[in-house]
Structure formats: C-alpha cells, structure tokens
C-alpha cells in the first residue's frame, strides 16, 4: 500500500507511527492502578502531551542538526517565542488555539530567519555559539527587562482583566479548539485494574505530531532533504556542484525553528502559561540531547530520545521513600534498608544521576543512539526467525565520521 506519495516502506512506517501514537494512552499504562509498579505508568494526559510536543520539537531539530549537521544551541528561543505568542493570543482574543498556533509558527519563523541569517554566516562551533548567544539573550531579557511582555519569572498567563475580545459567553475558560477543550477527557474507561485516559489535548497534539512527522518524512525523502544531507557530508563538493548551500541551511534552520515554535505553541495550548525558563540554554541543550540520544539523522530517533528524557524527568523524579518501601517492604529489614539506600542514588531527588549515567551508557554502547539499539534487537530477532530483511526505520544508518 502506498499513501500520500510515500513509498511502500514509508507508508508502513507511517502507519506504525500512527498506530503507536493513537494507542499511546493504552500502551503507556501497562500496570494496573494501585500496583507497586503503577508508578511507572506514563499514560496520563500531561506526560503524553509532553511526549508528543517534545517529539515535534525534536523532529524539527533533527531536520537541521540530523540532516545538515549544524548544531544549534539556541532552539529553545523559538520554543519560548511560540509559547508567548499563543498566550498573548489568549489574552487579546480568546482561548481558541486556532489563532495562536499558526501565528506562533509564523512568529518563530520570523525569528528564525533573523537568527539563522546571522548565525549561518559561520559554521561548526562558531555557529553553535552564535545561536546560543541569541537564545541566552532572549532568555535573560524575557526573565528581566522584558517582563511587561513576558511576565518574567512568573510566566505569562491570562488575567481576568485581559481584553479577550472574542471571548463568547458560553466559551470554555481554558484552551480549546472550536470547543474541543484540551483539558477534557473524552473517555476514561476502567478495565479490570487498568485505567485509561483518552484526553482531548493529547489527541489534538498527537494529530499535529503525526502531521509534523509526515512532513519531516517527506523532507527526508525529498531532493531538498538530499541536499541537506549532502551539506553535512561535504559542503565544498556541493558548492562546486553548483549548489548554493546558504539558502538550503537557512531553509532548514527556519523549518526547524517553525517546528520549535509549533511545539512551544502547543505547550501553551495544553497549559496556558509560558515560563521564561523554557528559553534557557538548558532547554536548548535538552533537545540536542534528545536528538543525539535517540539517533541524530534518523526519523524515529529524536522522538524516542524525547520520550526517554521526559519519561525520566516525570516518572523517576517521583519515586520517593514510600514508593520504595512499597517495593521492598516484603524484604528483611536490613536488606530493605540497603536496597532503599542504593536506590537513593538513582531515583527521586537523584533522578538526574540516572539520566546522566544513561546518557553515558547509550553513547558508549550504542553510538547510533536508541535507534541503533532498536535495530540491534530487531536484527537479533531476524536472525533467530530467519525472516527477510525488514524495513529499517530510517533512510540509512547515520555514519559517524570523525570531524
């Protein structure tokens, strides 16, 4: 079957992604409520929304970094710009995200054109530092002197005295898409001990994420994408082949900036508050880590990386002593205390440590990122079952060349 101009392989790939995305509320709830392992369930709306949103962010970032090799350390700036735009639309018009989201993409595109035009005059680490400098300036200013525009530390939010000129009398008082209220759940079945939450906001972001993924798939397979990959491998040859690389890199930069703006806008669409810290360098660094961790230059990698990091941030940080007692309570006291003591290093307040260790392990043992891990497992199964070569979830393994 071929769909929407995709090859058979890609169609299957897209369908798998659509299936996984749509079934997320079920797949991420593997443990029954109340069981000791329910802590590891991630199928609640906020986290699912975050998976989708940061997936979009990372997919977009990958178009720049994964394809062209230009490592931007300032993409969080666009995330912030997108969020602020959407919240401002709430404040000025009303809570319908239909105004804010397209505008968020447009505004971040404008920012990306300016920052990209300047930064792309340099390459390598000089480019990275230029983008970092722009983003840090945006963050520092948003946090302090631009407070009238950004509400600074508190974060931009809607106040009762905001104009909201389009707000109807019966309209929802929280973000919605023509009445499809993001915070609402349309179905909350309880099956056995399992509880599933089907949330409006999640499906809204999920559909946008699928579209974003489809667009990125098309870009990967397009002549434009081919040129971007060529830029990464040999820019000199490309120039002598008659290609002007600057507009290509700028286009990639702007497209990824728009993805970031969209992700930022969606963050505000799910949660109508935009904090300045989402523009900080750590946030820019986070998307870099997501992309590398998952596998830069691969289609699925950035999404996996985004999920991985967000999962740790939201799930591991919540494991506290009482949860640990719940797990180890059946053991003899001495052993229980010992295990809890050891766990202290890795969960709860120490979740960063686990994340850091996993970064190191992945990069040491899986140079191609999580995607490579997936491929190895798939290869193992293939060997066992002797099945035919399956479609890899990427155009080609991203080769690693020194320098």
């Amino acid at each position: 079957m071929r769909l929407l101009g995709l090859s058979r392989k890609d169609t299957r790939f897209l369908l798998i992604v659509i299936f996984l995305t749509m079934a997320t509320p079920i797949l991420l709830q593997p443990f029954p409520e109340g069981s000791g392992l329910a802590t590891f369930n991630a199928g609640y709306p906020d986290l699912m929304q975050r998976f989708a949103i940061f997936g979009i962010f990372a997919i977009g970032f990958n178009i720049l970094f994964g394809l062209t090799g230009y490592l931007s350390f300032g993409h969080a700036a666009f995330l912030g710009v997108g969020s602020y735009t959407v919240v401002w639309m709430y404040k000025l018009l009303d809570y319908n995200v239909v105004y804010g989201l397209p505008l968020a993409v447009a505004v971040s595109a404008v920012f990306a054109v300016v920052i990209g035009y300047v930064s792309l005059r340099r390459s390598g680490i000089y480019f990275s530092i230029l983008t970092l400098a722009f983003a840090q300036m945006s963050y520092n200013l948003a946090y302090s002197v631009l407070t009238p525009l950004t509400n600074g530390e508190t974060g931009l939010q809607v106040y009762g005295n905001d104009p909201q000129v389009l707000l109807g009398a019966t309209e929802a008082n929280s973000p919605h898409f023509f009445g499809w209220v993001m915070n609402d759940n349309f179905w909350e079945p309880v099956i056995g001990g399992w509880k599933f939450t089907f949330n409006n906001g999640y499906y809204f972001t999920a559909i946008i994420a699928i579209i974003a993924f489809y667009v990125s798939l098309r870009i990967f397979r397009s002549p434009f994408g081919l040129m971007l990959r060529a830029i990464k491998t040999n820019q000199t040859r490309l120039n002598y082949t008659g290609i002007n690389t600057r507009p290509y890199t700028l286009a990639a930069f702007v497209i990824s900036g728009m993805y970031a703006g969209l992700a930022g806008g969606l963050m505000a669409a799910m949660d109508p508050l935009a904090g300045a810290e989402r523009m900080q360098w750590t946030a820019s660094g986070e998307v870099v880590l997501m992309t590398i961790l998952g596998g830069a230059g691969t289609l699925m990698g950035p999404i996996l990386g985004a999920g991985f990091i967000k999962y740790f941030e939201n799930i591991f940080s919540k494991i506290n002593d009482s949860v640990l007692h719940g797990w180890f309570g059946f053991l003899p006291d001495g052993l229980e205390d010992f295990l809890i003591g050891v766990s202290h290093f890795f969960v709860g307040k120490s979740w960063h440590l686990t994340l850091g260790l996993l970064f190191m392990l992945v990069v040491v043992f899986l140079p191609g990122g999580l995607v490579e891990g997936g491929q190895r497992i798939a290869a193992m199964f293939r060997k066992k079952s002797g099945g035919k070569d399956d479609a890899a979830h990427q155009p080609k393994p991203a080769p690693h060349v020194a320098e």
Binding site: Y143, G275, K349
Partner: protein, 449 residues
C-alpha cells in the same frame, strides 16, 4: 536471584496492601463526577511538590521532611506534634474524614514549567486533592493557577512575593508564609531603632518579580522612617560574582546596603559585600550596615560568619518559645535529628491546616475547604494567633525580625530573634496597590465539576 520474580513478589504484596484503598484519579473536568479527584476509597492523596534538584534542593528536602511528619501526625503516627497545641481540635489522628492520608512527591526544579508538569502528573496520574510545597514565588504562582484551573487546592509553601496573594491571587490558593510587604513593615521600625532615621540606602535587587516586589516594599517602609533611597540596581539572577555591583556602593554616598536577594544570590552578594569591607567601612560618619530583608536558615548557613549582626526577617524560627513551636521542634528534631527550617514549618502547618479545614467542612470538595479556610482564626501553630484573610487568602500573624548571631553555638542558631513584630504593624488592606489594587480578584473557587 531472578529479578522478575523479585519484582513480582513486591507487586503482589504492595498490590494487596494498597489495592483495597484504591483511589482512582479522575482528571480535570470530566462531567459526571462531583469534583476533581473526589476520593472514593479509604485513602486520600496529597501532593508535595518541592524542589529536589537545583539551587533550592535543600529547602525542598526539608519541606519534604516536614510534610512527611505532618502526614504521620494526621494519620496518628508519632507524638502528634502541633496537633496537640493547635487551637482547632477536630483532627483526631485517624486521617482526614476517616481516610488515611497518602502522599506523592515531585520535583519542581524551581522552574515553572517543570513544577507545573510535576503538579499535573500528581493531579492527573495520582489523583491528589491538594498540592503543597515549593520554594520560589514564580513556581508558586504558576502552580497556584494550575490548581485553580484543575479544581484542586493549593497550599503554598515558601513564597514571599507580594504577587502570590496579590495580583496573582487565586480562590483555590492559600498562603501561610509571609510576604515582602510584611517583611518590610516589620523591619522598618526595628531599623529605625538601631540605625536611626538619617540613613541613605542602596539597593541591590534580583532582577525578577520577587526581587522587585521585595525592593518596592522595603523602599516604601524605609522611606517611611525617613531614610533616603540612593539607588536601586538590578542584578542578574545567578550572577555569582557581584563585585561589579558592590564596588560602586561605597562611592555612592550610601550608608546602608539592602540586599534584595535570596538563596545562592544572597549568600554570594552578602559574603562579597563583607569581603569588600562594607561592614567595616564608615560612611557619612556612620558605621556602614547591610540589611537582608528575607532570611532563611539555609541561606544563613551558606553565608556563614558574614551574617553576624545583619538584620532580616523570617516567617518563623525554631527558637521561638511558644508551645506550638516547641512541640513541632521536638517531634521534627527527634525524627530527623535537626531543627526544622522556616520553609519546613510553613509546609507542615499548611498540610495540617488543609486537613483541619476539610474535617471542619466535612467534605473534600475544594469549594467547601476554601470556605472553611476563609476567615479562619487559629492559634498554636507557632506564630501565635493567626487569621486566614478571606479577601486574599493570606495569613496574618506576627513577623520575626532576625539578626545574625554574634556567637552561634551550633550550626542551627546562627540567627537570633530580635523582635516579634505584632500582626497589627504588618497588616495591610487587601486592595493595597502593591497587591494588585482593586483589580486583584480571587475569582471563583473551582472544584473542577
């Protein structure tokens, strides 16, 4: 030992332990239910959202200790702490309305985004009815508005900005901690007594919302006692090295430096000011002085000897001698081997107050709880007679003016209480201009229905 076996055994056991009291969360406005996360089983869940990573992690951990203690006391474990001295006697150690209290914890990272994510996970995944904790105003305001939208209660932890119960006040949010205005109002008269009325003040202010409200408040109250404000310089958060902001101070003709900083910034700016000889300097024929409007134990410990003789304010300190404080310090000290910090105290008290309000209201519905808390007067929780004002959900109680101790004997008494400023001196009208004026409104209470 096989790992799978091992976890499965744990699962069965814990499953049995908590299965009976299963409290399934219902999320946000989902129609049929009565209100958000209405507890249906034999337990009720509270969320403790504190910084566990980042610069305020220690404060967060101390808050967690206190919250854990509060839950024990509510569930009838331990010596009962301040429940014994609390003027309201409805809590009997059987949980809240007969339901055993459980809690979940989360990491705010002192970032509004992360804090909201963590709070949302508590609301959506764990089904908490109340969120408590936090160590900065930005986070408090962000989480407070989230709780308002979600229809659960927010009992603020350490948040000192005027905005939390000022322009950003919310019907579902309550603050026990004092604020910048009250700090300033308490400090004013004391500063007048010790440093006189003829002083020229130089402000260094953390360049974000809390810093500004702190500076605005202390400037107003020092000007009210006749001081002149020479300058107010905004410093970047996390500047680390404040030397380039400190060196101009002595040349400016000022004779008092007011540091509107908190946390690591305050530790560094104060230490560096002392390093630059400001405390030894003479200006305008007077001894140069430094004032730190907001103190915390952990900051004081970080600043070490540099705080000696420096005035500031606190919401509460373990060295108070009232019955409630003594009971709390004893029970906290025995469990954790250290006296509680002010942020721990406020979180403990907030948790107790929530449990009490639910019990008095006879319902978990946030709107009923709000009603029970509004205008509630109580005593025995360490600060003397206290009022939860209905108009802005701010607690009004005495404020402590502190001074860095000259000869601390242990690491915990490097601050000493100079004066307990009575509540009358720090109270203000709910529509005070620093608190959003007439426009500020709590809005409607939201139970998520």
């Amino acid at each position: 030992m096989s790992k799978t076996n091992f976890t499965r055994r744990g699962l069965i056991k814990t499953g049995a332990a908590t299965g009976a009291g299963l409290a399934l969360p219902t999320i946000f406005t989902s129609g049929a239910m009565g209100f958000t996360n209405e507890p249906t089983g034999s337990t009720v869940k509270l969320g403790f959202n504190v910084p566990q990573t980042g610069p305020y992690a220690e404060e967060g951990l101390d808050e967690l200790r206190a919250q854990e203690l509060a839950v024990e006391h509510i569930n009838g474990i331990g010596d009962g702490g301040m429940l014994n001295t609390f003027s309201s006697k409805v809590l009997d150690g059987t949980g809240i309305l007969g339901k055993k209290v459980e809690f979940v914890t989360g990491d705010t990272q002192t970032k509004s985004d992360a804090a909201r994510a963590s709070a949302k996970s508590m609301i959506e995944k764990d089904g908490v009815l109340m969120i408590n904790g936090g160590s900065s105003s930005g986070v408090a305001v962000a989480v407070q508005s989230l709780c308002q939208d979600a229809g659960i209660m927010f009992m603020a932890g350490l948040t000192h900005s005027n905005d939390t119960t000022g322009k950003d006040r919310k019907a579902n949010g309550f603050r026990h901690f004092f604020n910048a205005y009250m700090s300033a109002a308490a400090l004013g008269p004391v500063l007048k007594n010790v440093y006189g009325t003829d002083r020229r003040a130089y402000h260094l202010t953390a360049d974000y919302t809390w810093g500004w409200t702190q500076q605005e408040s202390i400037q107003a109250s020092t000007e009210a006692i006749g001081w002149e404000t020479v300058n107010n310089v905004l410093t970047p958060v996390g500047a680390g090295d404040f030397s380039s902001y400190i060196t101009p101070v002595l040349q400016s003709g000022a004779d008092v430096l007011i540091l509107n900083h908190y946390g690591g910034d305050m530790v560094n700016s104060l230490s560096q000011a002392v390093q630059f000889g400001l405390r030894d300097a003479m200006a305008n024929g007077k001894q140069f002085e430094i004032v730190v409007p907001l103190y915390s134990e952990l900051m004081a410990a970080g600043a070490g000897d540099n705080i000696k003789g420096v005035y500031g304010s606190m919401n509460w300190n373990w060295q108070l001698t009232d019955e409630g404080t003594q009971a709390f310090v004893k029970s906290f000290g025995e469990k954790f081997g250290r006296p509680p910090s002010g942020s721990a105290h406020t979180c403990y008290v907030q948790t107790i107050l929530y449990a009490d309000a639910v019990t008095r209201a006879g319902a978990f519905n946030p709107c009923a709880v709000v009603e029970a808390l509004e205008g509630f007067e109580f005593d025995g929780l360490g600060n003397g007679p206290t009022l939860y004002r209905a108009e802005d959900h701010q607690c009004f109680k005495d404020v402590l003016v502190m001074k860095g101790a000259e000869n601390p004997t242990t690491e915990y008494d490097n601050l000493e209480i100079v004066e307990v400023t009575p509540v009358d001196q720090v109270i203000y009208p709910p529509n005070h201009p620093m608190f959003g004026g007439d426009e500020a409104s709590l809005g409607e209470c939201n139970d998520g229905a």
